[in-house]
Symmetry: C2
Subunit: 230 residues, 2 copies
DNA sequence: TGGCGTCATTTTATCGACAAAACTGCCATT
DNA sequence: AATGGCAGTTTTGTCGATAAAATGACGCCA
């Protein structure tokens, strides 16, 4: 769970705060599965791992608690929050209806430049994809492009709160994505799935777009199920 | 055997950690408007006010950031996040559709004991209300009973995440509620508004319940508007 | 008057230290 | 063999001190 750091550090913008840096690194490490679910987060260990003192660490972990990535027990420290099939199903349901709403409103409100952003984001994502590679920074970059695409879809929904909700749910979902191994992922044709959504969006066919999106999100469910049922 | 420790834990919520206590106090102070929007939160001031060191304070404030109650600027400290009409409208919209969903699902799934909880919560709320009083602890108690009632309505939606979302939105909304003075509040017949919702719920009339709920939430909009338009 | 650099003061972010709590391994007792 | 203390070790939560950054005051000069 260590050395893919430079890329993320470089991207962390303006962060003269030691704490912001460690926050983003821990967050990404949890999302990418480098810090596995349920793992104890001992302050001394993290100090060595992330090269900082206890105060920035504790602040960073505190930020991650309301986001649902970290749990805390009184006098028993921090740990990475768990992943369960029940939680995933809840998440999937939340995502389907909140993004559906956001997508419908974007389709109503979005103009040509919105369409352009989507097409562009899809292009970059599809470029990144064939080059599949389980190596950490590649995976991080792919995740970034994937998120950029999905956020572009709903960018014109007109509600900052709804955008933030979708963003948070997306990141929580990526914890589950990182659980499926790469072979399984390669079975799906991700680019085609996304193209299908875009095609419906460009036709301004909200119903088709929403159902393609739901279908897209639902596919991970079938990959996750065998992993989380013991 | 009930030992003393459990009793204390049960009585003081989140008990032994100094930080949990200060977290809840600051949170409530922001929601109730005792810490007004935009106000600078200097650590030294807070140390005196809440009687603790810098570390618990910074952790508590960090928890409040993702919840949207506190903003942070690099090397410029913390401040209470702002309230605007735009933000309120976004919030109102989010609340209407997320609680509508939660309420519909509760009406589908909830049983007799769910109905009982609602009736009970309404009873306690209506008891607390006529005794109106702008005094702080009364206001806090009324807020608590009001929230208990609304959470009881959606308690059977079956989605922990949706419940948490509604809970967070409710608390953010209460910041706006605390802006309207008590005279204005007294003009409304709060108990009647809530009874109307309950009546529709007990008839299992989801459409009527949802629209009564939306109507209820919308009423604050008219009270807020003159306050936030300068 | 009004903009600008400089210096002193305040405020922030971080570190190291310490008391209290939790965990661990061991031994005696049943 | 299992249970229940008991001491030693780790780990947590909090405090005070300190360097870096921001803020504010003041005088200088156009």
């Amino acid at each position: 769970m260590v050395n893919a750091r430079q890329a993320i550090e470089a991207q962390s913008d303006g962060g003269k705060l030691l704490m912001s840096d460690v926050y983003q690194r821990i967050r990404e490490d949890i999302i990418m599965g480098r810090l596995e679910a349920g793992r104890k987060l001992r302050i001394e260990e993290l100090k060595a791992e992330y090269g900082t003192g206890a105060s920035p660490l504790r602040e960073a972990l505190s930020l991650l608690i309301p986001e649902g990535f970290v749990d805390r027990l009184e006098n028993r420290g921090f740990r990475v929050s768990g992943v369960t099939l029940t939680d995933f199903d809840d998440l999937l349901d939340m995502r389907c209806w909140s993004e559906s709403r956001a997508l419908r409103r974007s389709i109503e409100r979005g103009g040509k430049e919105w369409e352009g952003e989507i097409v562009l984001a899809l292009y970059w994502f599809s470029q990144a994809f064939p080059d599949h590679d389980a190596h950490d920074d590649r995976a991080s970059e792919r995740r970034r492009l994937h998120k950029t695409f999905h956020m572009a879809l709903i960018a014109e929904c007109g509600s900052p709160m709804l955008m933030e909700l979708c963003s948070r749910l997306f990141d929580r979902n990526d914890r589950y994505r990182s659980l499926v191994n790469f072979a399984a992922t390669a079975e799906r044709n991700h680019v085609a799935e996304h193209e299908q959504i875009v095609e419906a969006v460009l036709r301004r066919d909200a119903d088709a777009a929403v159902s393609a999106l739901a279908e897209h999100y639902g596919k991970l469910r079938r990959q996750i199920e065998p992993i989380l049922t013991p």
